[in-house]
């Protein structure tokens, strides 16, 4: 039951993009086409889950054990940066198809604050390992839901006749605001 609550809360109520404002850069940057949005979601899911597992282990077996919690930010970002590199190398060897699908998105993920944000949130919420995995996967799903929905809307926006100053990013923000309003309707479910 509590896993279901974690999932619904992360996907709908506290959507990582539309309510917590994490991962806005890819949300605006790669949401022009549905196809690229799906690719980005795949890459983020992959990295987010692995990163949360690894940072969980580091938090509990290194940082807390030796009482160096103040190094959390430095440790986590280094781990995530090297993890992204590693995932890239492994993917290239293991699955060329997957690498070609996700490859171009991987370097962008290092500075995707959603990954670091979820890793830190999982620690702050005192989740155990399984809960952390569920939490990160649900957040990745919420990211994907927002990104794919938004890219579908943006494909339609391209066809609109807008004032020059509103074209591109500004209208995207206004639409994102409306989407966030729609997601506010989920508030109170959990």
């Amino acid at each position: 039951m509590e896993y279901i609550i974690i999932i619904i809360s992360a996907v709908f109520v506290n959507n990582i993009v539309l309510a917590k404002f994490l991962g806005i850069c890819p949300f605006i940057g790669v949401s022009n086409k549905v196809e690229t949005a799906i690719g980005m979601t795949g890459a983020v899911t992959f990295v987010m889950v692995i990163a949360t597992i690894v940072t969980y282990l580091i938090q509990h077996y290194v940082l807390e054990k030796f009482g160096i919690g103040f190094l959390q930010t430095i440790m986590f970002i280094l781990v995530i940066a090297s993890l992204v590199q590693m995932v890239e190398i492994v993917l290239k060897r293991v699955s060329i198809a997957l690498y070609q699908a996700l490859g171009i998105f991987l370097p962008l993920i290092t500075t995707n604050c959603a990954v670091l944000g979820v890793a830190i949130l999982a620690v702050q919420n005192d989740y155990n390992l399984l809960e952390s995995v569920v939490f990160s996967a649900a957040n990745a799903l919420g990211f994907g839901l927002a990104l794919v929905t938004f890219s579908g809307i943006r494909e339609q926006l391209d066809l609109l006749d807008l004032p020059k100053a509103m074209e591109g990013v500004p209208i995207a923000f206004v639409v994102a605001g409306l989407l966030a309003m729609a997601f506010m309707g989920f508030a109170g479910i959990v």
């Binding site: 090297s82 830190i120 923000f173 966030a180």
Partner: protein
């Protein structure tokens, strides 16, 4: 480029938020009031000036292949300094900004300046660049925070000027997107007129 031009480019021509669209997560996340925007902006400015300074100093010794991880370690160290000092001296602001303090480390603005500017210019230029870009970022955050606070709670910097509530939507998540969208429209208009 003169130092003065180098300093002012961060405010209008290359403003991080309104023109380059960098560092949007903290921009949207913490600007429910002008004072929060200012705290976040100044914290980011400190990290930006610090990392630009160090990166510019060590730029001749960093091997090209590991430059990005090196920049990240430098930035993360300054973020930790900000995190710990804010926790000690400004605990209220620290609680308000919450998660977004450690997330300064992944603000693409900072890494972007280290890579594109500080690693190629001398110490003085790098510091001026960091100061200009950082204060430009702060200005954007205060503007956005101010607009949202005025519309959303009818106050500015915590001083209330109407009775009752404002348009609550603007302090909530959707208001952040909508307010920023329309502010970019406005900046586009102004920039086109001056160009």
């Amino acid at each position: 480029m003169t130092q003065w031009k180098n300093f002012t480019k961060g405010f209008f021509k290359e403003n991080a938020v309104f023109v380059l669209f960098l560092g949007l997560c903290p921009t949207l996340g913490v600007t429910n009031s002008a004072i929060n925007g200012m705290g976040m902006g100044l914290a980011t400015t400190f990290v930006l000036v610090g990392s630009n300074l160090v990166v510019s100093l060590i730029r001749h010794w960093i091997p090209d292949k590991v430059r990005i991880p090196t920049f990240i370690v430098v930035i993360a160290s300054f973020v930790t300094i900000v995190e710990l000092s804010m926790q000690a001296y400004l605990p209220d602001l620290f609680d308000e900004l919450g998660l977004f303090i450690p997330l300064i480390v992944v603000n693409c603005l900072i890494l972007g300046r280290a890579e594109a500017f500080a690693s190629r210019h001398n110490l003085a230029s790098a510091i001026v660049d960091g100061l200009g870009m950082g204060l430009g970022f702060t200005m954007a955050l205060v503007l956005l925070g101010g607009v949202r606070e005025i519309l959303g709670s009818g106050s500015i910097f915590g001083l209330k000027f109407i009775n009752g509530d404002g348009i609550l939507l603007f302090v909530l998540a959707p208001g952040a997107f909508i307010a920023l969208g329309y502010m970019i429209v406005l900046i586009n208009k102004i920039n086109k007129k001056s160009a």
